[in-house]
């Protein structure tokens, strides 16, 4: 190298010596650069490892669940009732049926309430009352879901003297409300003010503007929120333990105990029969895949919307 390199150990003295003052940058480069590169490499390494670990956990989970349960995923698994005493065959059809009914019930309650609250917060909500509502919705989102089960138990199970699908749907609906509220408030706020003004300037009322212009413009985002909320409650177990309770029979009567996929997984995991334990893994796999598919569908359908 043609440039004289000062020793890296004495950076303070190199600044004072006339010879090295010609190359002040070179004086610190070798020592600092090495440290910087080392720190940089370490940060990249650790963040990559963390990401790999997180993704790896999900993949390991899927593989494990699949290896334990794959053999039991067949048509019977979706269409047959559990066999008594761990006899071979059977499935958890009543759990799929129950989950569908429970999610429908929950959506019936959670989607309108959440959507209208979101509309209120986005369109009319000003001042301390709206701030209070917004805060309470956030709190609602953070409440452990078993508390909603407890609420449904007190409000519905005890008065009706029976576990029921209705109580389960109510508990799940409560869980949906804050999710739907926040996502719909957010996407409604993204609708340009100019669109609202265009409608109002044509003599439309605020109600018509919201229903015919703002809501359709925000439709994709709202659907995203609803699907995510449905996927979320599809996996809820705790609030169903004391509300829908579970059953091993077909049931469409919402005033009676009703099964659900996570409930059945929970029950079968504790079963003394190996087949039921494996069927629990099969159910877990199906549940994970359903939720993955829902997230994926939302990503694909609203991809352009979310990236902006």
């Amino acid at each position: 190298m043609s440039v004289p390199m000062p020793t890296s150990s004495s950076s303070s003295s190199t600044l004072q010596s006339g010879e090295s003052r010609l190359h002040p940058f070179l004086a610190t480069r070798s020592s600092l650069n090495l440290r910087r590169r080392l720190v940089n490499a370490l940060v990249v390494l650790f963040t990559t490892l963390a990401a790999l670990f997180a993704a790896g956990l999900l993949i390991y989970l899927l593989c494990y669940v699949l290896s334990q349960g794959l053999r039991y995923i067949n048509l019977d698994f979706f269409t047959q009732l559990p066999t008594p005493n761990g006899e071979p065959g059977g499935g958890m059809g009543e759990a799929f049926q129950g989950s569908l009914i429970l999610i429908a019930l929950a959506s019936l309650m959670g989607v309108p309430l959440g959507l209208f609250t979101g509309i209120y917060l986005a369109e009319f909500g000003r001042g301390p009352f709206a701030q209070g509502v917004r805060f309470l919705v956030d709190v609602l989102n953070g409440i452990p879901t078993i508390i909603f089960g407890l609420l449904a138990w007190v409000l519905i199970v005890i008065p009706m003297q029976s576990f029921s699908g209705l109580a389960g749907g109510f508990a799940l609906g409560m869980i949906m409300i804050p999710i739907v509220t926040r996502t719909s408030e957010d996407v409604l706020r993204l609708v340009p003010r100019e669109l609202r003004e265009a409608s109002l300037a044509l003599g439309a009322t605020e109600a018509r503007t919201i229903l015919q212009i703002v809501l359709p413009a925000a439709r994709n985002g709202i659907i995203t929120g609803v699907v995510l909320a449905m996927a979320r409650v599809a996996g809820e177990t705790a609030p169903l333990l004391m509300t829908a309770f579970g059953t091993t029979f077909w049931n469409t009567d919402v005033t009676q105990p009703m099964d659900a996929l996570p409930l059945r997984i929970f029950q079968f995991t504790l079963s003394p029969y190996q087949q039921q334990v494996n069927q629990a893994y099969a159910g877990a796999f199906v549940l994970i895949v359903l939720i993955l598919l829902a997230s994926l569908a939302v990503r694909l359908a609203a991809g352009g919307f979310k990236q902006r």
Binding site: R126, A198, L202, Q212
Partner: protein, 299 residues
């Protein structure tokens, strides 16, 4: 009135020859702007007998405690184009929005004074704001078509009024023709309005307003998001409909005001500095500020 009033540039025979001799990369509109500012008489011929459509008297407007309009008084004359000019933030858009009470939608605003439209004060609490906005239409700075079909965009206001289907179809065609858009979109009325170009979208927005047969049309810098060619089309359109509609246009573009308007108001810092026939205001401004502004000494 002059007889050759078919378009805004029909009085500029020299423009054509000059354009042809220019290099092709020179935007033709720049020349026209130049002419409008300098060589050409500013202002459209005005109708001396035009009645007053909206009489604004001593209007003050506040955002919270911040006053943005100070004692504005001016007449908006019927079937004439009134241009409002002034630098950014001078209150001209705010003033425009007071005329169909769009500022009602902004919280913590307050208004004093009156604006008499058809014998009634626009700010009278008893006024039906919905009806008012149907009679005083508005076109905004950025084209804002609804994410619906071209047809549904125009039909929207008519459906609000529960017009019969047949009439809606007629009105859609009529207003699209009036907005010089019919030939471009007649084969794709069911297509999304968002697929139109910016200039087409803005003409669609004008058509949407015209469909309601408003008496007054307010335009808030309707060309500021458009290219020069689209701007020219809008200007020609406005001139062609100004025989039937009272038009108030806010513009940043002084030459636009000079080209298309009969009357001009100059706003500065929330005050109406000068108001009068466009020709006079541009040729013989009475106020020092007006002269400075239109001669480009500040902007």
């Amino acid at each position: 009135m002059e007889s050759n009033m078919s378009g805004p540039y029909s009085r500029l025979p020299a423009t054509e020859g000059r354009l042809a001799s220019q290099q092709s990369e020179t935007p033709p509109v720049d020349l026209r702007l130049h002419h409008a500012l300098g060589a050409v008489e500013p202002g459209q011929p005005l109708d001396q007998n035009a009645r007053v459509a909206i009489e604004v008297r001593h209007l003050n407007f506040y955002y919270g405690t911040h006053q943005v309009l100070f004692d504005i008084s001016l007449p908006i004359r019927q079937r004439q184009i009134t241009a409002l000019i002034g630098p950014s933030g001078c209150g001209k858009s705010t003033f425009l929005r007071t005329l169909n009470r769009m500022n009602d939608l902004i919280p913590e605003t307050r208004i004093e004074g009156e604006a008499i439209f058809d014998g009634e004060n626009i700010y009278d609490p008893a006024i039906d704001v919905i009806r008012l906005r149907q009679r005083i239409g508005m076109v905004f700075q950025r084209p804002n078509p609804f994410p619906k079909s071209i047809f549904d965009n125009i039909a929207y206001g008519l459906r609000i009024q529960r017009k019969p289907r047949r009439q809606i179809q007629e009105e859609v065609e009529r207003s699209l023709r009036a907005a010089a858009l019919w030939d471009e979109v007649k084969d794709r009325l069911k297509a999304s309005a968002l697929g139109l170009s910016g200039g087409q979208q803005q003409r669609l927005c004008i058509a949407r307003a015209l469909a309601l047969h408003p008496e007054v049309l307010l335009l808030d810098e309707p060309c500021s998001a458009l290219d020069p060619i689209a701007t020219l089309k809008i200007e020609e359109l406005l001139l062609s409909i100004s025989k039937e509609y009272t038009i108030v246009i806010v513009t940043h573009n002084m030459s636009q005001a000079a080209r298309i308007s009969q009357y001009t108001g100059f706003f500065l810092n929330g005050r109406l500095i000068e108001y009068g026939p466009t020709a006079e205001l541009f040729k013989r401004p009475r106020q020092r500020e007006t002269e400075d502004y239109i001669s480009g000494r500040f902007s």
